[in-house]
């Protein structure tokens, strides 16, 4: 966490950029700006430059930030604002440690003892290693998980961390080989794209097929994909595309799962979308926690650049790196981040389809949505339409984690129930664990009790229960776990990830987390906070943050109301009405 603030860090007074600072910055950025690299310096690539400095120095020295501001011809304030916004940048004058270990303490990793592990590791590893409790890093199937100097380690134990730091265990421990372009092409890959480029298909029929297939945005919002393409295509050009692989919703790791295996399938879907909508340039926004995916995608894009898949040139493609900010999964915050700014959601209208990236009409799609496009178009959508259970249609990639025997990404029919998902796809519950509760859609989708394990899981089916499926990240709790503790952890997560732009979210998540730490919850106050957050927050983060808290009040009142009277963390006695909290 950046402790530094402007008024501490910028000393001595009156520092101006020196020739030495300019040279140091130029040397660091030389490789990036070299011919064949990204070319001349651009304001929108500020975050990329900050990454170069952070990677090389282990922190962001003020002198280099000032030199960067000068080189980009922007104010130092803008550079500080951006640098201090992202978790993965350390705006301090001294390098905090030789290596940073980020231990996930959010979803399944919390159930697996992530927080205890973090405390233990800090003592064990000493001051030269910085141990940070981190939000979900998307390795939930191998909980507890950590990032060691940016590389992922699953099934973390102190021994394994020591081995990784000593280099006797090499990271990342890959569990899948990405399919290369030749292999993908050998099984018919890119053929559809080529046919599109050669005029054998028209974009109207492609969009119509997508509409018939019922494919919806799999990042969580569920907007019908075909309709979105049609809307953006009708906007004046130039049109841009932004691919959302920020995948920060706790418990979600499906995008990573597919990228590690078939990067070209995703890229073909992306390029078909670009062709159908008439896209000039594509920006792929990948979360910083996915270093392995970054290498895989960079290699796949390099392979693609050397081929002549289309008769015409491909759209310009830029791979961008997030910097540790959950809110950047919100589409307009992601767009701000791609523009090199803080990840602050925009107020709508206008919608990004009309005024998006660089104020151009923008098609924003999640990675997995595009991943399914080639297959759907090849069989006319049959593979999707003919799937589904309990009256629902389609397939969903559930990221299942927590107390099940075989966690992982499970491609299952839409509408499957939790009980079916656990029994048929996850080998049942772990020995000795009995189902108690589950989060159907990560941190924001609420939390349901075991008695509602037979509800179909899909878009639109969970709203009557105060929940939603979102990115289909299912975290399973057993009777050894507590719904209240889980809800509290999720609220702390939201408080840490709020961008701070609007009052109800910035103060509401922070205050809710404090109030929820009390043994007995102040129900009227929490309900008021929830109403303000849901009704008045700018973006989905603040609007959905109260779901877990409202679900606990509704389904698990015994956990937060019945025990002996206590005081809240502020030391005030809990109100009498809070003592009788029931749903």
């Amino acid at each position: 966490m950046n402790q530094a603030t402007l008024h501490h860090i910028d000393r001595p007074k009156g520092r101006r950029v020196t020739p030495a600072d300019r040279k140091a910055l130029a040397d660091l950025l030389a490789a990036l700006l070299a011919p064949g690299g990204a070319g001349e310096m651009r304001r929108e690539r500020l975050i990329e430059y900050l990454h170069v400095i952070q990677d090389a120095r282990g922190h962001l020295p003020i002198a280099l930030l000032a030199a960067l501001a000068e080189a980009l011809k922007i104010s130092q304030a803008e550079v500080y604002e951006v640098a201090s916004f992202y978790h993965h940048f350390d705006v301090v004058e001294e390098k905090p440690a030789s290596v940073t270990v980020r231990i996930c303490t959010t979803g399944a990793c919390a159930l697996a003892g992530g927080a205890t592990l973090a405390a233990k590791l800090q003592n064990l590893l000493g001051a030269d290693v910085r141990v940070v409790e981190a939000p979900c890093i998307g390795r939930c199937e191998k909980a507890p998980a950590a990032l060691i100097g940016g590389e992922a380690l699953g099934l973390v134990t102190p021994e394994r961390v020591s081995q990784a730091l000593a280099g006797t265990l090499s990271l990342p421990e890959t569990n899948a080989e990405p399919m290369l372009l030749d292999a993908y092409a050998a099984q018919g890959g890119y053929q559809l794209l080529r046919e599109c480029g050669e005029g054998k298909h028209d974009s109207d029929s492609v969009i119509a097929t997508l509409e018939q297939s019922g494919l919806r945005g799999l990042g969580g919002a569920g907007f019908p994909t075909g309709r979105k393409w049609r809307i953006v295509r009708s906007q004046p050009g130039p049109r841009l595309m932004a691919v959302n692989i920020d995948e920060g919703e706790p418990g979600t790791f499906k995008d990573r799962h597919y990228l590690e295996r078939e990067p070209h399938r995703f890229l073909e879907g992306m390029l078909i979308a670009a062709w159908a909508v008439g896209i000039e340039a594509i920006y792929i926004y990948l979360r910083d926690e996915y270093a392995e995916c970054r290498r895989i995608l960079a290699a796949a894009l390099a392979e693609l650049a050397g081929q002549h898949i289309l008769p015409q040139a491909l759209p310009r493609i830029e791979l961008r790196r997030g910097a540790g900010a959950y809110v950047c999964g919100e589409e307009s915050a992601m767009i701000e981040s791609i523009e090199g700014k803080r990840g602050m959601p925009r107020l709508r209208p206008p919608y990004v389809a009309e005024v998006g990236l660089f104020d151009r009409p923008t098609l924003v799609q999640n990675c997995e949505t595009l991943f399914w496009v080639p297959a759907i178009l090849k069989d006319g959508g049959a593979s999707f339409i003919n799937q589904g259970r309990h009256g629902r249609k389609g397939l969903r990639s559930f990221s299942v984690s927590g107390r099940v025997r075989q966690p992982g990404v499970k491609l299952a029919p839409a509408g499957i129930t939790l009980r079916e998902l656990i029994d048929e796809y996850c080998g049942g519950m772990i020995e000795g664990h009995e189902l108690y509760a589950y989060l159907p859609g990560g941190a924001s989708g609420g939390i349901l009790p075991a008695r509602l394990a037979d509800v179909p899981l899909d878009f639109d089916t969970l709203q009557p229960y105060g929940c939603f499926i979102g990115s289909a990240s299912v975290i399973v709790l057993s009777k050894q776990d507590s719904a209240r503790d889980t809800a509290l952890r999720m609220m702390k997560f939201f408080a840490a990830e709020s961008c701070g732009q609007c009052t109800p979210c910035r103060i509401g998540t922070h205050q809710a987390a404090r109030l929820m730490a009390a043994r007995r919850w102040d129900e009227p106050l929490l309900r008021d906070l929830a109403q303000a957050m849901t009704g008045a927050s700018i973006c989905g983060l603040g609007q959905a943050a109260p779901n877990v808290l409202l679900c606990v009040l509704k389904y698990f009142p015994d956990e937060v109301g019945a025990s002996d009277p206590g005081t809240d963390v502020a030391g005030r006695s809990v109100s009498a009405s809070g003592a009788t909290a029931t749903a």
């Binding site: 910028d10 201090s84 701070g500 922070h510 205050q511 404090r514």
Partner: protein
């Protein structure tokens, strides 16, 4: 034209703490939330940014809106106790000024100073630092040393009497004891 602008020109009061005629809409304080009904659908929107349109029906007061404004006022009062503007809102919306534990910073992050400096003065002497609950304003010493001391045009804009801005400015220009 925005809903807020239309309401103001018609003499209808909608509270706001972060809006200013010389600045772009910010939509941060959220006190201007109103119910907007269009095409048979009602949604809560921020009046300072939402555009007026044909047949749009706007309700500026309702049980829901009043409760949201009450809670927002209570939240902000924890950070800026006894701010005159906030106490006035508290009277209007029956807000309890002591509902939340005090965390005085005397800054409610409306961003008027930051945005005025950037948009009107184009000096960027003060900015937002960090994010979430750790978000705060900070002056850039190099710029503040030459620009701010004789300007301070942002101070009168501050809804909490610029106490925090003055404090942060002085601190940014004071050498550390070390």
């Amino acid at each position: 034209m925005t809903v807020l602008g239309a309401a103001q020109s018609a003499g209808i009061f909608i509270p706001t703490l972060c809006n200013h005629e010389k600045l772009k809409p910010f939509g941060g304080c959220r006190l201007c939330m109103v119910e907007a009904e269009a095409g048979g659908r009602t949604s809560l929107v921020s009046a300072c940014k939402y555009p007026v349109q044909q047949d749009l029906v706007v309700r500026t007061r309702s049980g829901q809106i009043d409760n949201i404004r009450k809670v927002l006022t209570e939240q902000l009062l924890a950070f800026a106790p006894d701010s005159e503007v906030l106490l006035e809102l508290a009277r209007e919306y029956q807000a309890d000024k002591d509902r939340f534990a005090k965390e005085p910073s005397f800054c409610i992050l409306c961003g008027l100073c930051v945005r005025y400096c950037a948009e009107v003065k184009q000096r960027h002497g003060v900015g937002f630092i960090d994010r979430g609950a750790s978000r705060e304003i900070g002056f850039i010493p190099e710029i503040a040393a030459t620009e701010c001391w004789d300007c301070k045009e942002c101070f009168p804009l501050c809804p909490t009497s610029a106490l925090q801005a003055a404090f942060v400015l002085v601190k940014s220009l004071t050498p550390s004891p070390s």
